[in-house]
């Protein structure tokens, strides 16, 4: 280890800190110019191609001419997105329109007065108001106000299972926790790891706690935490969920090496697709991930079901956790608010909805149900749509729902629980300290 890494550190650290003082031009370099070009930041994964089309369509439209503005899309590499957005929003080169996860992910921007309140725009526009599932629309806002317009597919967390393995072992997808434990025992006897888990990425571990807390204590437990009541971590449901996790780990439900398995690098999906693990609790994107890597498995052997009910628990089996969808929000300092809002309307258009469906996504638009037959897998798309549409509660992924300065230590604590560095009781008391 020599000076190379030091140079990197100084370079990266100072570049970031320098941008703080406005010393360097971080970001697109274009910003919102007087020429009427607005910048939009989007999460730069495969699905961004739909936003590229949307921008092109808008720029050529009458609405763009009327508002005297065009959009320039900037794709930000996926893993860097939140940090890049934050540094850009603090600089003079902030985007005019930006992709986000709603909830806690935009709270700091609202507090800094950098968000346009879209409530009036949405209520006065029938296309926007009734164009989206109302629970999804609401999740893009804070305290009953709208700050975002849905622009991607819905991402509920689903329990996937390997149909071949289930058939071979004569198993049925579980609807209750006892059934799940029973399947667990049978699979272990057959030397199959019950659940794939990408523990190295931590957030897949978080999904287990999100569902367990919901099923045991109901959605209101996390609702309180999300609203800033750290003492709500002390709710018995959180402890019970942590104990349940511990039990699963000790039982070998996740196999042995799960802390070294990643999701992002394709580790956990491969374990699942190759039949080494029988089930995988994951966001709906698992389907497109598998379709890309193991298309045969995705098309023929993948089954899906809701997270099971827990006997005596307060949560409804129809409750869903995950990301309702992603949103476009508008920077309050934009030079052309009319153009930015006109652009958001494209996300409610029929053309946009159809493009999402063709990509395998399930849009949060209310007309989606009638269009899902055009999906690459209509059966899976309809399951997902109904799951979200009928859900009494949709809890946003915890790490997106709370402030980043709470989310980071929270993920560390989750990791400690899963690797056995802390007990369920220690887990709960550490979380109560988070503010």
């Amino acid at each position: 280890m020599e000076s190379h890494s030091r140079r990197w550190f100084l370079g990266a650290g100072t570049a970031a800190l320098a941008s703080v003082g406005g010393l360097t031009a971080c970001g697109s370099g274009s910003g919102s110019g007087s020429d009427g070009t607005l910048t939009a930041f989007v999460y730069g994964d495969d699905a961004a191609k739909i936003q590229v089309k949307s921008v092109n369509r808008f720029n050529a439209s009458a609405a763009a001419k009327k508002a005297k503005g065009t959009i320039k899309l900037q794709k930000v590499p996926a893993t860097d997105y939140p940090a890049k957005l934050r540094t850009a929003m603090g600089s003079p080169n902030a985007p005019d329109v930006f992709f986000n996860w709603g909830g806690g992910s935009i709270k700091a921007y609202r507090e800094a007065g950098q968000l346009v309140d879209l409530t009036d725009v949405i209520t006065s526009d029938p296309v926007l108001k009734s164009g989206f599932l109302s629970s999804v629309l609401a999740a893009g806002g804070l305290d009953g106000k709208n700050y975002g317009v849905p622009m991607r597919g819905m991402q509920p967390v689903i329990l996937f299972y390997n149909k071949t393995v289930f058939a071979e072992q004569k198993l049925q997808p579980p609807t209750t926790w006892d059934q799940l434990l029973d399947i667990n025992t049978k699979l272990k006897k057959a030397n199959i790891t019950p659940f794939a888990l990408g523990g190295a990425d931590i957030w897949p571990e978080l999904m287990w706690l999100e569902y367990l807390v919901d099923r045991i204590g109901g959605p209101q437990v996390f609702e309180k935490i999300k609203n800033g009541d750290a003492s709500a971590w002390g709710d018995p449901a959180v402890l019970k969920a942590a104990q349940t996790v511990k039990q699963l780990i000790d039982d070998g439900a996740f196999g042995k090496g799960y802390s070294s398995v990643g999701y992002g690098n394709g580790g956990a999906p491969a374990v699942f697709a190759k039949g080494k693990a029988a089930m995988h609790l994951m966001g709906s994107w698992e389907y497109s991930t598998q379709l890309g890597k193991f298309p045969d498995f995705a098309k023929k052997n993948m089954g899906w079901c809701a997270f099971p009910q827990i006997e005596g628990g307060a949560g409804d089996i129809r409750n869903v956790v995950g990301n309702p969808t992603n949103y476009w929000s508008v920077n309050a300092h934009t030079s052309n608010k009319d153009a930015a809002i006109a652009f958001l309307r494209d996300s409610a258009s029929l053309a946009y909805t159809k493009e999402l469906i063709a990509n395998g996504d399930v849009p949060a638009t209310s007309n989606a149900a009638t269009l899902l037959d055009a999906s690459p897998n209509p059966e899976f798309a309809k399951f997902q749509y109904e799951m979200v549409q009928k859900a009494p509660a949709f809890t946003l992924s915890w790490d997106q729902a709370v402030d980043p300065n709470v989310a980071t230590p929270m993920l560390t604590e989750v990791n400690k629980l899963f690797v056995g560095k802390s007990s369920p009781t220690q887990f709960v008391s550490a979380l109560k300290e988070l503010k």
């Binding site: 030091r6 800190l17 320098a18 603090g90 190295a200 042995k256 090496g257 990643g262 580790g267 989310a407």
Partner: protein, 304 residues
């Protein structure tokens, strides 16, 4: 370093007046250093001062930083994660130093031979150093996957496994560089010493311990300082391989800084960690220079 070398070493310029005069006449004007100094001031010194200023504020990256006095520093000194991360950093530094020094010393001395195959092999050894740390880390991250990697067990999920993986990956990348330093040092050792020793009947092992090793003293110091300073600021490998985990067991100082700044957006606290790191690293390298006699470094040929 070069100034002290001339001062402390044999006054070569006295014996070679012509070269000394040429040096003085050809010494470039100070004006030529201006762009370099400005660049350094602008991109290194100024941001460092800015970070120091930020360490006295509360700032989430938006709006203006709010002065909070010593709050971040108080939090830092009371933070049990700081103690833990210092321990990890020191352990990582010591173990990496031992691991890399032993191997690169042996490889370097071996590669100092002049046979053709050694030159080719040395060139191959050097390849890992040319790859980016990020690429190397991603490669090892995939190789350490318990299901599809080379070792079918939970490596990164255990404290010792994760620690050793970081040491190994760091070594894999930087041993070639230090091998090169040792190779250069070993080639500087006069052949006559070995010839004399051979006449006296010293074997290869004895020659290694009585001639090669003592003659490489200063090379070892140079390489050691580079290793220690490098370990203090080691970052990419930890970010990609372990994210500081399991739990916080491999969260070294630079990672702690990154996490506070770019995950929690607590730039004030991140700046306090960064300033602490700069202070600690500077103090440590000054101490090493003082203790190792690096400042008074003399020619290895002296006393010949």
């Amino acid at each position: 370093m070069s100034v002290t070398q001339v001062k402390g070493g044999p006054r070569n310029d006295a014996g070679r007046p012509r070269s000394a005069r040429r040096n003085r006449a050809g010494r470039p004007s100070a004006a030529l250093a201006v762009p370099g100094v400005l660049f350094f001031a602008f991109f290194a010194i100024a941001p460092m001062l800015l970070a120091f200023y930020l360490s006295f504020t509360k700032w989430n990256g938006l709006g203006d930083p709010q002065p909070t006095g010593l709050a971040n520093w108080r939090k830092l000194l009371g933070d049990e994660r700081l103690t833990q991360s210092l321990t990890v950093t020191v352990a990582l530094t010591v173990v990496s130093w031992a691991f890399q020094t032993v191997i690169s010393l042996l490889l370097g001395v071996w590669a100092a031979g002049r046979q053709r195959n050694r030159a080719v092999l040395s060139a191959i050894f050097f390849v890992p150093f040319l790859l980016s740390s990020t690429a190397i880390s991603l490669l090892f991250y995939a190789l350490l996957d318990p299901n599809f990697g080379i070792i079918h067990r939970d490596t990164l999920g255990t404290t010792s496994g994760a620690f050793l993986a970081i040491v190994f990956v760091g070594g894999w990348q930087f041993i070639p560089f230090h091998t090169l330093i040792y190779q250069g040092g070993a080639r500087q050792i006069p052949e006559v010493l070995y010839q004399a020793a051979a006449i006296d009947g010293a074997g290869r092992l004895r020659q290694f311990f009585s001639i090669t090793l003592p003659q490489l003293r200063n090379t070892a110091t140079t390489s050691g300082v580079l290793m220690v300073v490098g370990s203090l600021t080691y970052f990419e490998t930890v970010l990609i391989l372990t994210q500081g985990g399991p739990g916080t067991d491999t969260a070294i100082l630079p990672y702690l800084m990154y996490e506070a700044g770019f995950k929690s957006y607590d730039f004030g606290y991140a700046s306090a960690v960064a300033s602490f790191l700069v202070l600690a690293a500077t103090a440590l390298s000054l101490l090493m220079v003082k203790l190792s006699g690096f400042g008074a470094m003399r020619s290895t040929r002296e006393g010949m």
